[in-house]
């Protein structure tokens, strides 16, 4: 019998300082997340310099807590996995340098993980993956459809050409004077509407799996602007519902079509926007009708966390991939396959 693999994951790509210990890539032993949302709220979004400052304050505390919760000492670890990119460069640097220093101090191997690969592998912490599979990654920074035919193979078949879905949610929320982060507020309001505004659906050219949300966002802004000029009362719930309907319809249809064309055995969703109730319900219904297994991990694994980085890092570690002391934060990192 082979030995158990314990990987320490570290994630600092945006506004969460996180560390976690995962066993064999599937079992969470500890999962610690220090969120900065409260400090960024007053600015209406994440301020990169402030995010970096918070990461330095939290990093060793969070790693220590993750080890304490796991009741483990560094010598029991097999490797350290850290988010190498993409993300905010100043934020990534804290995790990467802390991971390198920790790995050096304890003479442990280090692996650099792609943040989106992490989001996808969050699923494996809840349920084993079945290949070939399609992953819908949808968050404040990403909107991508990724096809995988085995562990470590990633084929990005569609991605956003402008704003990420979550970014559009935040911008629309701001015009409706909803607090940051806006996604959950729009989701809640949308359910209160009886007559959603009819906003356009952006399909792009036929057969494309790419997304575009900036046109939709502009339509919402124009609608608000015109209403204000006419002196009309706008019902925020109707705007929220109209916007959400457009996003959900396009994302559901493209995910469904991709799943059919690529004949996948399983469809998984990942990222903060995957927690959106409207989107979740629509995807669940669509795939239930098709009979394709569809899965979304619990909310705590959809948002940024380090367990997902440890989970993805475990597969990389098993495949013999190693980083070194020259590892750097890579804000524009591409998602390459590991094989």
């Amino acid at each position: 019998m082979s030995e158990d693999i314990y990987v320490l994951g570290i994630e600092t790509s945006c506004d969460e300082t996180a560390a976690s210990v995962v066993k064999n890539g599937i079992e969470i032993i500890s999962n610690v997340v220090a969120s900065q949302i409260e400090s960024h709220k007053r600015f209406g979004g994440v301020v990169p310099e402030i995010a970096s400052r918070h990461h330095v304050e939290q990093i060793t505390l969070v790693i220590e807590e993750a080890l304490k919760e796991a009741d483990m000492v560094p010598a029991q670890l097999s490797a350290v996995a850290v988010t190498e990119g993409p993300g905010l460069v100043g934020a990534l640097l804290i995790g990467v340098n802390a991971a390198k220093a920790f790995a050096f101090a304890h003479q442990l191997p280090i692996v650099g993980v792609h943040h989106i690969a992490g989001h996808i592998y969050a699923n494996r912490l809840a349920q084993e993956m079945q290949f070939p599979l399609l992953a819908l990654v949808i968050s404040g920074g990403h909107t991508e459809l990724v096809y995988m035919n085995e562990h470590g193979h990633f084929d990005v078949i569609g991605e956003t050409r402008d704003d990420a879905a979550g970014e559009a949610y935040d911008k629309v929320a701001r015009t409706l004077n909803l607090p940051y982060p806006g996604g959950p507020h729009i989701d809640r309001l949308a359910h209160e509407s009886n007559k959603p505004v009819d906003f356009p659906r952006v399909w792009l050219e036929e057969g494309s799996y790419d997304f575009s949300f900036s046109g939709l966002k502009s339509s919402v802004l124009n609608y608000m602007h015109n209403a204000a000029q006419r002196g009309d009362q706008v019902e925020p719930a109707d705007v929220a519902a109209g916007f959400q309907n457009s996003v959900v319809e396009v994302v559901t249809a493209k995910t469904l079509r991709a799943a059919e064309q690529y004949k996948v055995k399983q469809v998984i969703a990942a990222g903060g926007v995957a927690a959106n109730k409207g989107l979740r319900a629509s995807l669940e219904k669509a795939f239930a009708e098709k009979g394709t297994p569809f899965f979304i991990p619990p909310l705590s694994l959809c948002t940024d966390n380090a367990a997902m980085i440890a989970a993805a890092g475990t597969i990389m570690y098993e495949k013999g991939i190693r980083g070194n002391m020259a590892m750097n934060g890579r804000p524009g990192m591409e998602m390459d396959s590991w094989i």
Binding site: R42, F43, V47, E49, I50, S52, R53, V56, E57, I59, T60, L61, I63, E64, P74, G90, L93, I94, V96, N97, A98, K100, A101, F102, F104, A105, H106, Q107, N324, M325, A326, N328, G329
Partner: protein, 231 residues
């Protein structure tokens, strides 16, 4: 007692190892290469050369700023993570004081300087062999700070690679009162950092953060907007 010193607070990278009171290796690189890429490999290489394993280290010394925000954070993150991982004391020294140490024997005021753009810099005034503080580390308009130095009426030695950027205004205001460190004395030396660290108190590792000496632009704008609303 084995000290590892790391200074990444401006574009040069300075690292050193000291055993008791002997500096075993010190290295300063002035190549403007990303510290995130070079700092850990340089430390790893230096320790290998000195045949010192991470577990042999007994103290970590780091330059705590002010300086480049990102630069200071990289050094501090490495230093605090090493100190915490190895369960050894962490010592922090002002990045400006580390520079000032290059002029330790100067009879007058030592003014370390790191450029912070738009006519501003991180500056301080120190004096004597014990590097006593005359004017505290701060972010200032270069011109305003030099006018304060002029009032002291004593010779001033400027230290740091960014001195070149402000040479003209320094000359203009201080004239003969100003002198400049020779090129070999402008770069930070981690040996100085370690010697200063030995006189400093041990820090709480978890709470160790950079001394930025400046709030973020977003916070400054926010405070301004808040003030504007009140009036």
């Amino acid at each position: 007692m084995i000290y590892l010193g790391i200074d990444t607070s401006n574009s040069p990278l300075a690292i050193a190892l000291a055993k008791e009171d002997t500096i075993i290796i010190e290295e300063t690189t002035n190549l403007k290469i990303n510290h995130s890429l070079t700092a850990m490999p340089a430390v790893e290489e230096m320790m290998k050369k000195a045949k010192i394993a991470p577990a042999n280290l007994t103290h970590i010394a780091v330059a705590q700023g002010p300086g480049s925000y990102t630069g200071v954070r990289i050094g501090l993150t490495i230093a605090k993570t090493l100190a915490w991982s190895l369960k050894i004391p962490l010592h922090m020294v002002s990045s400006l004081k580390v520079l000032a140490a290059n002029g330790q024997n100067f009879d007058g005021i030592i003014c370390p300087l790191m450029d912070a753009r738009r006519g501003t810099a991180f500056m301080a005034a120190y004096q004597g062999e014990t590097l006593d503080s005359v004017i505290a580390d701060q972010h200032s308009e270069v011109k305003d700070f030099i006018l304060r130095l002029k009032e002291l009426g004593r010779p001033v030695l400027f230290v740091g690679i960014d001195v070149e950027i402000h040479k003209e205004v320094i000359h203009e205001i201080l004239g003969e009162q100003a002198s400049f460190a020779a090129p070999q004395n402008r770069l930070p030396r981690a040996s100085n950092l370690i010697m200063l660290a030995k006189q400093s108190e041990e820090q709480n590792v978890h709470h160790a953060v950079p001394e930025y000496r400046r709030i973020t632009e977003a916070e400054a704008n926010y405070n301004k907007a808040q003030g504007g609303e009140k009036s």
